[in-house]
């Protein structure tokens, strides 16, 4: 099962190496990783999607806590969350498919952010399922290039 961990870390050099090294040497599988600063400039948050049963996740969490630079680990899979990814997709278009592609982009609430003679670049945000579905659809036209961020997530507020 996939778990999403929000790992609050000190904003020191080498932090990423410490975290990724821990995952590598203990053979935990990282599915995606997104790092950014928080509103507190001395802390960063890493959103890590990791695979494992509850025992593995418990060990991952404890091992992370052992690192001197790790401030807090939250397993967001136990909470109601809003999560998002961002994808940029460059799709092949011909005169006769262009309209179809644009309509699909519209349905997915994507945006065209760049345009070539025979391609469109589309920006799309959403959860993993939505982005997967969009990518699947775009494959029928031919995807020239694709980049997507890892997941970022935030717990839903309870007020």
């Amino acid at each position: 099962m996939l778990h999403t961990l929000a790992v609050l870390v000190e904003n020191n050099p080498g932090v990423l190496a410490r975290i990724s090294g821990l995952f590598a040497r203990r053979a935990y599988n990282i599915f995606s990783l997104a790092v950014c600063q928080t509103e507190n400039p001395s802390l960063s948050v890493m959103t890590i999607v990791v695979e494992g049963d509850s025992q593995v996740i418990e060990q991952v969490t404890k091992q992370l806590h052992k690192l001197v630079v790790v401030h807090k680990v939250t397993n967001l899979s136990n909470e109601a969350v809003v999560d998002r990814e961002l994808a940029l997709v460059r799709v092949k278009v011909k005169t006769e498919t262009r309209l179809e592609v644009l309509q699909t982009v519209d349905i997915f609430r994507g945006r065209v952010v760049d345009m070539g003679r025979s391609n469109l670049t589309i920006e799309l945000t959403g959860d993993k399922e939505k982005i997967d579905a969009f990518i699947k659809t775009m494959r029928t036209y031919g995807i020239l290039e694709l980049v997507r961020t890892g997941k970022i997530a935030i717990a839903r507020s309870d007020t």
Binding site: G14, G21, S42, Q63, V68, K72
Partner: protein
């Protein structure tokens, strides 16, 4: 620094004293001096180090410092010596090496300390900051290389951070579950001016460690103990680290329950204690292993269910038992086996509370069973007229008395020492357990002797292991350390040979040490006494002669390569499949 700036410092820092002013007035107060100053303030008496290009400023400053510097003959020995010092003294050990090969030579020693949770501050020189990352002369990424084997590490980028970082390093190394902390110091940082000699407050907002255990859980543990029919304590290195030995003994005396120790836990309960069933695990006593296998309550304290204890069979280990797991490191709990009553906390504090609440269970039947096993499967050996290694260890125990420290290397001799040397207290039996590092024993003995100058220090070693650190003879001579080297010379890599004998049809491969030197002559070449012993009758006189000879002595005991360490639970097997014991 001008008067005005000094005033500013005084205003900012109420601890600013006239001494600081003097330091500042004396001119250059550089990173190297700041480092030595803060080491002194941390109470460091001795550091084990080896110089090199990037450390010139530091070694120059060392000439004016009160800290004693010991020069081993290899950087790996410097770490092991600091490690031995730390294990014996209970303080943080400090070692130092130059950049590049000096630093990488320390890697094994750091891993060794990490595995056995030994508090060290390891200082490495580094190339100047403007050359970092350019593959410059003698540059290695030592913080990167040691990431998985340090509790924490620092690459110092600003000289003014030195006092704070060193203070933090000592704090991290020595608190919670101890471990090595590495500080990598670029050459220019050591030469740069430090403007504020005061170590500011620690800045470790995320570092936390546990002390007191949860009282509710301890109540649960006390309840489980009172109701148990077959309880047993499984005590490890954590007991010794936290100084919990005496409270553990109080507990087992109060409620009269049996105890087994791990290799790291040797000394937590004295060998002669009637409740001690011996060491558990691969070469442990049969009774200890049967007891753990059969118990209904396992009180695990400061242990990590290592595969040398569980045979790597976590699902077949103590299967009938409710498990109480007491450890200061939450990540150890549930890592290998599931604990029914997990208690995160310092072993001493937890046992203290548990002891107060503990009530004796009714376990007469259990004791009868244990005593029967002990009678059936005593830890013995055949005295066949040859010089048996066990005889040597028993004689050492008899002659040495209580004020003795034994360090060991790795191999058969180590296991015999664990089985047969009569240990009386914690911090007395020093061995490389988790990493099993050949070459550890001799430098560890050096560190031990510096920690306890008045104790008799024995090194128990094999001819393979000894030659991995034989160069340390020079160090013992240079500092006149009266270490007594007990070399069990079987002409082979005995432990490997034993396994080839037992599990590979005696197809012996690369275990002969054909070109061994004459060790007595080697000793003499270093100007120390060497004594060869090849008959059991000579053991005691030779040991006495060694002890009565000032300075280091090497005792070269000729033993048979056919000696084996028994009993043995082969890895992947359970206790009922033990070799040399249970039918």
């Amino acid at each position: 620094m001008g008067k005005f700036e000094q005033d500013i410092y005084r205003a900012r820092d109420p601890e600013f004293t006239w001494e600081d002013e003097e330091i500042l007035a004396s001119g250059r107060y550089n990173g190297a001096k700041a480092l030595l100053d803060v080491l002194e303030k941390e109470g460091v008496e001795v550091i084990f180090g080896y110089p090199g290009g990037v450390l010139l400023t530091l070694y120059d400053a060392l000439l004016d410092s009160s800290i004693k510097h010991i020069l081993p003959r290899h950087e790996q020995a410097a770490v092991h010596a600091a490690d031995g010092y730390a294990r014996v003294s209970g303080k943080v050990g400090v070692c130092l090496a130059t950049s590049g090969p000096g630093a990488s030579n320390m890697v094994t020693g750091i891993a060794n300390a990490y595995m056995d949770s030994v508090p060290l501050v390891v200082i490495t020189g580094q190339v100047p900051t403007n050359l970092l990352g350019t593959d410059s002369f003698q540059e290695v990424d030592i913080t990167g290389m040691t990431l998985p084997i340090t509790k924490h590490s620092y690459l110092v980028k600003d000289a003014k951070d030195i006092p704070r970082i060193v203070k933090e390093a000592f704090h991290i190394a020595g608190t919670g579950r101890p471990g090595p902390v590495l500080i990598d110091l670029p050459k220019d940082i050591m030469a740069a001016d430090v403007i504020d000699p005061h170590a500011p407050k620690l800045s470790l907002p995320s570092y936390k460690y546990f002390t007191k255990g949860n009282s509710g859980q301890i109540n649960e543990a006390a309840k489980a103990l009172a109701q148990s029919k077959k309880p047993i304590v499984y005590a490890g290195g954590g007991v010794i680290t936290s100084g919990a030995g005496s409270i553990l003994r109080e507990l087992i005396d109060k409620v009269n329950i049996p105890v087994v120790t791990t290799l790291m836990g040797i000394g937590s309960v004295q060998s002669k204690h009637p409740n001690l069933l011996g060491m558990v695990g691969m070469h442990g006593t049969i009774t200890a292993n049967l007891a753990v296998n059969d118990c209904d309550l396992l009180i695990a304290v400061g242990v990590r269910f290592d595969d040398r204890v569980t045979s790597g069979l976590k699902h077949r280990f103590a299967t009938n038992a409710k498990i109480i797991h007491i450890d200061v490191d939450p990540a150890e709990i549930g890592k290998v086996v599931k604990a029914h009553i997990p208690i995160v906390g310092d072993a001493k504090l937890v046992l203290d509370e548990l002891c107060k609440k503990a009530m004796a269970p009714e376990i007469t039947g259990w004791w009868a069973q244990l005593r029967k096993w002990q009678q059936e499967y005593p830890l013995g050996y055949e005295q066949d007229g040859h010089l048996n290694p066990q005889t040597i260890l028993e004689a050492m125990g008899k002659i040495g008395g209580e004020n003795v420290i034994v360090t060991t290397d790795v191999g058969q001799h180590q296991m015999w020492a664990a089985q047969f040397y009569p240990v009386t207290s914690g911090r007395q039996f020093i061995t490389s357990a988790g990493l099993g590092t050949m070459g550890f024993g001799f430098p560890a003995a050096i560190g031990a002797q510096f920690a306890k100058p008045d104790s008799l220090v024995f090194l128990v070693t094999g001819d393979g292991s000894f030659q991995m650190s034989i160069h340390e003879l020079a160090t013992t001579v240079q500092y006149d350390l009266p270490i007594k080297i007990v070399l069990m010379n079987n002409g082979v890599l005995g432990m490997v040979r034993q396994m080839q004998k037992m599990f590979y049809n005696e197809r012996f491969s690369q275990i002969q040490l054909h070109a061994n030197p004459d060790f007595v002559k080697v000793a003499e070449a270093y100007g120390i006494k060497g004594i060869r012993v090849d008959h059991p009758d000579q053991v005691e006189p030779a040991l006495l002669e060694a002890i009565n000879t000032p300075g280091p002595v090497l005792l070269d005991f000729t033993i048979s390569p056919d000696e084996v360490v028994l009993p043995m639970v082969p890895s992947g097997k359970v206790i009922t499949e033990v070799l040399g014991g249970v039918d």
